[in-house]
Amino acid sequence: MSTIDKKQAEDFIESVITQYEEKTYKDRKTHIEVVEPGQEKCGVKSNRKSRPGVITMRGCAYAGAKGVVWGPIKDIINVSHGPVGCGQYSWSSRRNYYNGTTGIDSFGTMQFTSDFQEKDIVFGGDAMLRGLLKEANNLFPLNRGLSVLSECPIGLIGDDIEAVSKDISKEIGKPVIPCRCEGFRGVSQSLGHHIANDTIRDWIYEKDMVGQKFEKGPYDVALIGDYNIGGDIWSSRKIIEDMGLNLVAQSTGDSTFSELANVAQAKVVLIHCYRSMNYISRYIEEKYNVPWLEFNFFGPTQIIKSMRKIAAMFDDKIKEQTEKVIAEKYQPYFEKIVAKYRPRLEGKKTMLFVGGLRPRHTMPAFQDLGVEILLTGYEFAHGDDYQRTLEYLDSTTIMVDDMSEFEMDNFLEKYKPDLFGSGIKEKYQTQKSGIPFRQMHSWDYSGPYHGVEGFGVFARDMDMAINGAVWKNIKAPWKS
């Protein structure tokens, strides 16, 4: 039985959004729908501009390009080109883990900026950028390349970062990749992913770059679209290896330039975050004829399903090994975790509003633990994301695209879920309402959530959030 009554929910939604300014009201109406399990089409509009003056959870193209695609590649120097702020606010905040010596052969948790001053706006920053790239290369000689990530002013003042990058690349003999991810482009982080993917395409694959040579084999796979938040890609990698496959390249979490280039050298490309990386997988399929496969390593149901789907691309040896590892190692672990946590979580209700993929990826993991989803949606998904979310529903669910915080507050107030999973900006106001919260972009400083070990951490954390002792103490006992 669903907690959400469709008619009541629709009436409630209407009562909330009528409070907007008129054009905003009309726009928002098309972004929200109450959907049912089994429903075939999702009518939610997406990838549209957020309306001015409405607190949106969204970020910008720069955030998508730097924070998601380029940022995690550990051996290149990502220069935030423009004023100091963008690089500063995104510094070390995504927890894309990596192994390496920071400042020497790895640069993931460093903030490189051109720190634009007024004169740079007036006279342009190209000359400065030239000098900067050379300085960076001199001071960090073990870098394997540099990227130039444009902030808003660059596109507006007409700098030619492509020309500069080409020149310097030639001069230093390393890739220098200009990425036009100014924050005003597009409607969300999503365009940043796309733009960044395009730069990977244009500056790596189109130039036929390859990475470290390795001995090729029939079981070589690449894993893309995993950003290694809290170590996600490592627990995923472990599964791939346990299946008997060879992971020859991963991107972009704990990734190197070499691996990025070598993605196309695999036999199959496995893609986890479809939303941010599908551009690349499609391109590689087209250009190199390497097939790709979407998978989901959140929670037992999807992990096992995904493992079998991947194994199906390979021979019996892999299939057998896959079944063996499931039966002997994973299943028993999953059972223990479920036995411990499901009784504590059964029947709890959650709302999930995150990025462009995670809600539909994590819903099955919640369901594995007996948690119902009341509401979900995406900051920056596209139509197909909503469409594909339908298959994971098991009760009536409110689907919201680009939910404003105004809407969010109203939904929380109305439905009082046992958990809300979203981002840092949403965390503390949710908690003020006495509703437990998990940051589902950053795993709230925990992780991994992917893979087998990740499911244990996920289950533990959701239990911790939902059943945290503090939530019983919200109300002063003298207030009845």
Partner: protein, 505 residues
């Protein structure tokens, strides 16, 4: 419960051998990694004199700077007013970043809208965004005031806030009589403290109404001070003096609100009526100098009443604070304050032998850097490097004069516009005993092995510290606590397996 299956998360999970082997294999076969020898050699090189020289020759590249951009500071000024919506005219991503940054520091919600300018605004200007934006803000949140600042895009294309706001009012995008203040806060000029100054001075100019009548009351401006406890502390102090006062921008309501089951976007702060009436106070006291340059200038020029600026850290700074209040108000310094002074001095007397002769290098915003430098010397600590990214000429001159006045400052070096990668070179080639800095300085601790005393902004990796005051004698006690007990903790760790692991220290 603990005897059940124990889940390991990233903090310990990846120490397992299985993972170490996996990492090693990946590195060897696929990463095209530098050899371990190369890495070790390069690491050593980066910690040496040659590298330091190269590093200090940088003209363009900035690495790990200690500053953020103007609108961040502008939002901080705005959040200190009652029922006020901070508003960013520019790309929406900016607002998202500012909000996240504050949320991570304060562990509190930070409301702010943006008018989500995109490509079309780049071509046609952002006025339409603002008209719709203001309309929505008033419809949804019904604020008493909207405080608009700008991010890069609006500044580069030259949007005219004054004009836009005028139009919005005339066009009826906002309710009759709406109070909207606005400041241009280009990110490519100054830093977050400049933005604080621009926003606050604009608010004073745009809202203040001088009536000619002088009220027996003082204004107090704390500046870009993220220690929320200080707002309560200055009120407590002024309460002891029995002084009537207005704090101009008091974020202690919005950024330290209760969890009681009801989220309120606006929780209080400086009343709009007080902002209007501020010019009629008899004097203004400022607790920061470098974050309020324009504000000071404005008040001195336009309000024409006595202005005092103190740096209220440590003994001397707190003395200055108390005497400034006494001077501006004609009140005696209360006996209780004198008692607190004595207790603070007492605490220093009890503990300074752990600080005396130790060397310190500091990172901070300029007002904190100045205050902490002086306080460390009051404890007998010696200063090695004071390094800022957003230092000003005034700050540099003041700090050099301060250091010159004290033997503990005689060997100090001052850098107004360097970054934490420069700092790394300084610490590696000329080590100190302790670093004072914000959360990012933990990288310096890792890279140089020098323990970190966490004071500053942002503070993302410790909790609650911003709830304590740092100003006045009682705030000084907190600073002293952080300094001395960190030294004691490090001493324990250094001596744990020796006989010097004393129980009494």
């Amino acid at each position: 419960m603990s005897k059940d299956i124990k889940v390991k998360d990233h903090i310990t999970l990846f120490n397992d051998e299985r993972f170490s082997e996996m990492f090693e294999r990946k590195r060897e076969l696929y990463e095209n990694a530098a050899t371990k020898e190369e890495v070790a050699k390069t690491l050593e090189w980066t910690l040496g004199e040659e590298y330091k020289e190269l590093n200090f020759k940088r003209e363009h590249l900035v690495v790990n700077p200690l500053k953020s951009c103007q609108p961040l500071g502008a939002l901080y000024a705005a959040i200190g007013f009652d029922d006020t919506m901070p508003y960013v005219h520019g790309s929406q991503g900016c607002a998202a970043y500012f909000r996240s940054h504050f949320c991570r520091h304060f562990k509190e919600p930070f409301p702010a809208v943006s008018d989500s300018m995109t490509e079309d605004a780049a071509v046609f200007g952002g006025h339409n965004n603002m008209y719709v934006g203001l309309d929505n803000v008033y419809k949804l949140y019904k604020p008493s005031m909207v405080a608009i600042c700008t991010s890069c895009m609006a500044e580069v294309i030259g949007d005219d806030l004054n004009n836009f706001v005028k139009n919005a009012k005339e066009q009826g995008n906002v309710p009759e009589g709406s109070l909207i203040t606005h400041a241009h806060t280009p990110s490519f000029v100054g830093s977050h403290i400049t933005g604080y100054d621009n926003m606050l001075s604009s608010m004073l100019a745009q809202v203040g109404e001088k009536t000619g009548e002088v009220k027996d009351r003082i204004n107090v401006i704390l500046g870009f001070d993220t220690y929320i406890g200080n707002f309560r502390e200055i009120k407590r102090i002024l309460g002891l003096f029995g002084v009537d006062f207005i704090i101009l921008s008091d974020p202690s309501y919005n950024l330290d609100s209760p969890t009681d089951g009801h989220y309120k976007m606006f929780n209080g702060g400086t009343k709009i009526a007080d902002l209007k009436d501020a010019p009629n106070s008899k004097a203004t006291l400022l607790l920061q100098k470098y974050s309020t340059v324009k504000t000071i200038e404005f008040i001195e020029k336009e309000w024409g009443h006595p202005v005092k600026v103190v740096n209220p850290f440590g003994i001397k700074g707190s003395d200055d604070l108390m005497m400034a209040i006494a001077e501006l108000t004609g009140k005696e310094i209360p006996a209780e304050i004198e008692n607190e002074r004595g207790r603070f001095v007492d605490a220093i007397g009890d503990s300074y032998y752990w600080v005396h002769g130790k060397t310190f290098s500091l990172n901070a915003d300029p007002d904190y850097a100045f205050g902490l430098t002086r306080m460390v010397m009051e404890l007998g600590g010696e200063i090695k490097h004071v390094l800022l990214t957003n230092g000003t000429k005034d700050w540099e001159a003041d700090t050099k004069a301060l250091l010159a006045s004290c033997p503990q400052g005689s060997e100090a070096e001052v850098y107004a516009h360097k970054d934490m990668w420069h700092f790394r070179s300084l610490l590696a080639t000329d080590p100190c005993d302790f670093i004072i800095g914000n959360s990012f300085a933990k990288y310096l601790m890792r890279d140089t092995g020098i323990p970190l005393i966490r004071i500053g902004f942002p503070m993302f990796d410790r909790q609650f510290l911003h709830r304590y005051p740092t100003i006045g004698y009682m705030g000084g006690l907190n600073l002293l606590n952080w300094i001395v007990n960190t030294i004691l903790d490090e001493t324990d760790r250094k001596t744990m397996y020796t006989t010097s692991y004393d129980v009494i220290r």
